[in-house]
């Protein structure tokens, strides 16, 4: 057991767990995969922080990625926008650190003060992956704090959206919790004081009746006017807009109960409905809370700003200077380093641009740009540093101008839920019955009974169970989806999901898996030659080289002499006496051959051309099956920003070639969705990149597909983890079943209402009946909806 463990560790980096290279870096008998990991270990061991490695095996993140630049954090104007709080001595800042993933991370980041005593305190919120740092701003600058974090492998992600302002916490939910607390508190106490009356007080104890009554009134006041206030406001505004929703009968019921309780106790004619009233408001608020509960750690409302950096390096009079993105003007010269994002449309002035536009256009292959060409905003530079001249301000650029589209300003149409439609009829019928029974007793010349029956109808038919059936069913569905890595923005999305009849897919990153690409070699290559290719490619940081190494999956055995890399073109070197060259056809020195559209890496050894490696996109797991299942009942479309080189491979999946569109701009995608909607289709759009943002927003349900839910995903209604992509038909099935459950539970609660109405119209509703009926119907609904939803989920294999 023990030997096994050491054996396993010896082949792994002590810090991050990656496989060790043939000559690993080592200190203190520990072995590391790269200089970065070793550096982190050295800092930790110097500061006596090695317990970091005690809580978890290999807790670190690989440090192979180059570190970013943080000069801009010294700019006071940027600084002021980022910090939570600042005075002469202390600064408080909350930073988002995507690398936080285990208890070791918590331990290390909360012990930052041991590395630098100027950091007074650091607190982690694990689920949100944020750290709140308090530091002495006289002794340490923010830039230094951030660089300390980077040096131990926890690089914070600082984006422009942080400036716009920190995700505002959900106000309405915060308001709801104290209201529930008050209602629950009063409900408990009122029940205590109502019980003696239900059991019957003897003559001797009769004096308590009035005392308990007055206490009940005292408890009803905060419940009605504080906890239940929203129902009155909502009913009033809806009436003003000539809409009858479920809040109207609820508000009416609450009001009638309060007035009748007051009247009965003051005139000493009865016990009133105090406990029914408190219980009703308490359960209603819980239902509301369930409905509003969302994921704190997921953000559904991100735009391009959370993808863009905070500042950019400007070149002025041969000096570089960080500039806040908002101050970037037309004509400014900017410097974009390796792996940085181009923030505005610009002309290339200097350097070799090799730009990855996959996130913007969906184009999978990095694009080479020549001097003087326009480079659109949103691309990521893969080669060495380049200089650009800005031609359009950030907000007017090709990509970002999408957000000026009206779709982003108008609120998305509120999803029409089942309870909205039924509640209108419910309210009308309720008023008719109440009025009818009132007039009947009026004619029978029994005014007391007329009032009693009129109010009793309003009380007993108060649609508490009805109001709870939707939230509880939908909340149960949400938690089932959650377990299957499908995260919905709100409960209303479930009902919309059940109505979907058309699916529109994006290609790159959505139906193809960015992590896994297939590889094929065209030409002849021996195993020994593959070994040479691998050993050469290991040295390069270029995405294609890394991909190649991953796919070849051979252990490195030779070292490279005379290694040379021409950024964006190719790599060369001498391995075991063989000259090896890898790269584009121009780099190898071939005449421009008709290479296929997908990215190809050509291979040459000792002056002999062997052929090329061809990368092919791989469909996500279960894609074919998914298309086959959905195609049976739904319409399928594809809109891609990419070139149409995958068209042939995709034709079998989609009904007609007209439903597959390539080379679509973000605006085209949005318009396409809109034109489908005008034909009366209910659309689910599946996308992943910024270029899909408009289409996601326009569609009925916009789903962002991502492989890491904490990564950037555009504004959407739901986030789907790539691993659960193949479960999509099951999710739709489950949503439809949930609607069935809601219908059934409506029927159940209507049965309870009818039962109560039987007593109510006769004017013989006693508080006891109301007090029993209300909780019983509520509990039935809660049990029924949660159990039925779970049973359906089991049937759909989601549990």
């Amino acid at each position: 057991m023990f030997t096994e463990k050491t054996a396993a560790i010896e082949t792994q980096c002590y810090h991050c767990g990656d496989d060790l290279p043939s000559n690993p870096y080592a200190i203190d008998d520990r072995q590391f995969c790269c200089l970065g990991c070793q550096g982190v270990y050295r800092i930790l061991s110097e500061n006596n922080l090695c317990s970091y490695y005690a809580y978890n095996d290999v807790p670190g993140q690989t440090q192979k990625q180059p570190a970013a630049h943080f000069e801009y954090l010294d700019e006071p104007s940027i600084l002021a926008d980022l910090v939570d709080y600042m005075d002469e001595r202390n600064t408080v800042i909350t930073l988002y650190i995507p690398a936080i993933h285990c208890s070791s991370c918590i331990w290390l980041l909360e012990n930052l003060y041991k590395i630098n005593p100027a950091i007074r305190e650091s607190r982690i919120d694990f689920l949100k992956k944020t750290v709140k740092i308090t530091f002495k701003n006289q002794d340490i600058s923010l830039r230094k704090v951030v660089e300390t974090l980077v040096s131990i492998g926890y690089e914070p992600l600082i984006s422009s959206q942080d400036l716009v302002k920190k995700q505002q916490s959900d106000r309405s939910e915060r308001n709801l919790v104290p209201k529930i607390a008050v209602a629950g508190f009063c409900f408990g106490n009122v029940m205590l004081f109502s019980f003696p009356d239900y059991f019957g007080l003897s003559q001797l104890e009769n004096e308590f009746r009035t005392f308990f009554g007055w206490l009940n009134i005292a408890f009803c006041i905060p419940v009605t006017f504080y906890s239940g206030r929203d129902y009155f406001i909502s009913a009033y505004t809806n009436l003003k807009n000539r809409v009858l929703n479920l809040d109207f009968p609820l508000a009416l019921g609450i009001a009638v109960m309060f007035i009748r309780t007051l009247a009965e106790i003051i005139t000493d004619t009865g016990a009133g409905f105090a406990d029914t009233l408190c219980g009703l408001v308490f359960f209603l608020l819980i239902g509301k809370w369930m409905q509003q509960r969302t994921y704190h750690h997921l953000s559904f409302e991100r735009d391009y700003r959370s993808y863009f950096p905070v500042a950019v390096t400007m070149i002025k009079e041969n000096k570089t200077k960080p500039l806040p993105l908002s101050e970037l003007k037309q004509g400014d010269r900017i410097l974009i380093r390796n792996n940085e994002i181009i923030p505005a449309d610009a002309i290339l002035l200097k350097g070799e641009a090799e730009i990855d536009f996959s996130f913007v256009t969906g184009e999978a292959i990095p694009v080479n740009k020549t001097l003087g060409e326009i480079v659109y905003a949103g691309g990521r530079q893969l080669g060495s540093a380049i200089e650009l001249e800005v031609i359009k301000p950030v907000s007017q650029s090709y990509l970002t101008s999408l957000w000026n589209n009206e779709t982003f300003f108008s609120e998305k149409d509120r999803i029409k839920t089942f309870s909205d439609t039924t509640s209108r009829y419910f309210s009308i019928v309720l008023l008719l019955i109440a009025g009818g029974s009132g007039t009947y007793w009026m004619f029978a010349a029994d005014t007391a009974k007329a009032v009693a029956s009129f109010t009793a109808v309003l009380i007993i038919a108060c649609p508490c169970a009805l109001a709870l059936s939707s939230p509880f069913t939908l909340a149960a569905v949400l938690s089932i989806f959650d377990r299957n890595k499908f995260y919905l923005k709100s409960t209303a999305v479930v009902e919309e999901l059940a109505r979907i009849d058309t699916f529109v897919f994006d290609k790159t990153g959505t139906i193809t898996n960015p992590e896994v690409a297939g590889i094929a070699f065209k030409g002849n290559i021996t195993v020994a030659q593959k070994q040479l290719v691998n050993d050469l490619a290991v040295n390069s940081g270029h995405p294609l080289s890394r991909e190649l190494v991953k796919l070849l999956n051979i252990k490195k055995c030779f070292s490279v002499d005379d290694y040379g890399e021409k950024i964006g073109r190719g790599i060369s070197g001498r391995i075991n006496g063989n000259e090896v060259k890898l790269g584009s056809s121009a780099f190898i020195g071939l005449p421009l051959i008709n290479s296929p559209m997908s990215s190809a890496v050509h291979v040459m050894t000792n002056g002999e051309y062997l052929g090329y490696f061809l990368f092919e996109q791989q469909w996500r797991k279960g894609f074919k099956d998914l298309i086959f299942k959905l195609g049976k009942w739904a319409d399928l479309h594809l809109v891609s920003g990419d070139q149409d080189h995958d068209k042939k491979a995709l034709i079998p999946f989609f009904p007609t070639a007209q439903q597959m569109l390539f080379q679509q701009t973000p605006q085209h995608k949005l318009d396409y969705i809109r034109s489908l909607q005008n034909k009366g289709k209910k659309i689910m759009m599946l996308g992943d990149g910024l270029n899909d943002a408009g289409a996601l927003r326009q569609s009925n349900v916009g789903v962002a597909v991502t492989d890491n839910i904490n990564n950037f995903s555009p504004d959407c209604d739901a986030i789907l983890d790539g691993a659960s992509f193949h479960k999509l038909p099951l999710f739709i099935r489950q949503a439809k079943d949930a609607v069935t459950v809601i219908h059934a539970s409506f029927a159940i609660s209507l049965t309870y209402n009818t039962l109560g109405l039987y007593f109510a119209v006769q004017g013989m509703l006693s508080p006891l009946i109301a007090a029993v009926l209300m909780p019983v119907s509520t509990v039935t609904i809660i049990l029924f909806t949660s159990i039925a939803t779970r049973l359906y989920a089991r049937k759909n294999k989601l549990l």
């Binding site: 006596n48 090695c50 317990s51 005690a54 809580y55 208890s103 918590i106 331990w107 909360e110 607190r123 982690i124 919120d125 694990f126 689920l127 949100k128 919790v177 104290p178 607390a181 008050v182 508190f185 408990g188 106490n189 001797l204 104890e205 308590f208 005392f211 206490l215």
Partner: protein, 60 residues
């Protein structure tokens, strides 16, 4: 039986104190993060360097 008035007063007062405590907790953000404190409490305050070398020796 007049004792009941006093007892009810006590019980309501006690319940009000709990309600106030809940409000205070929720206002000071104690319900904001319900995960991290559960992990934090498991950390040792300080791992003694002597102890660590000792346990290392024990292992070999």
């Amino acid at each position: 039986m007049n004792m009941i008035y006093f007892l009810i007063g006590c019980s309501i007062l006690l319940a009000l104190i709990f309600l106030a405590a809940f409000f205070w907790a929720s206002k000071t953000g104690q319900h904001d993060d319900t995960y991290t404190p559960a992990v934090r409490i498991l950390f040792e305050d300080e791992m003694q360097p002597e102890n660590q070398t000792k346990s290392d020796e024990d292992q070999f």
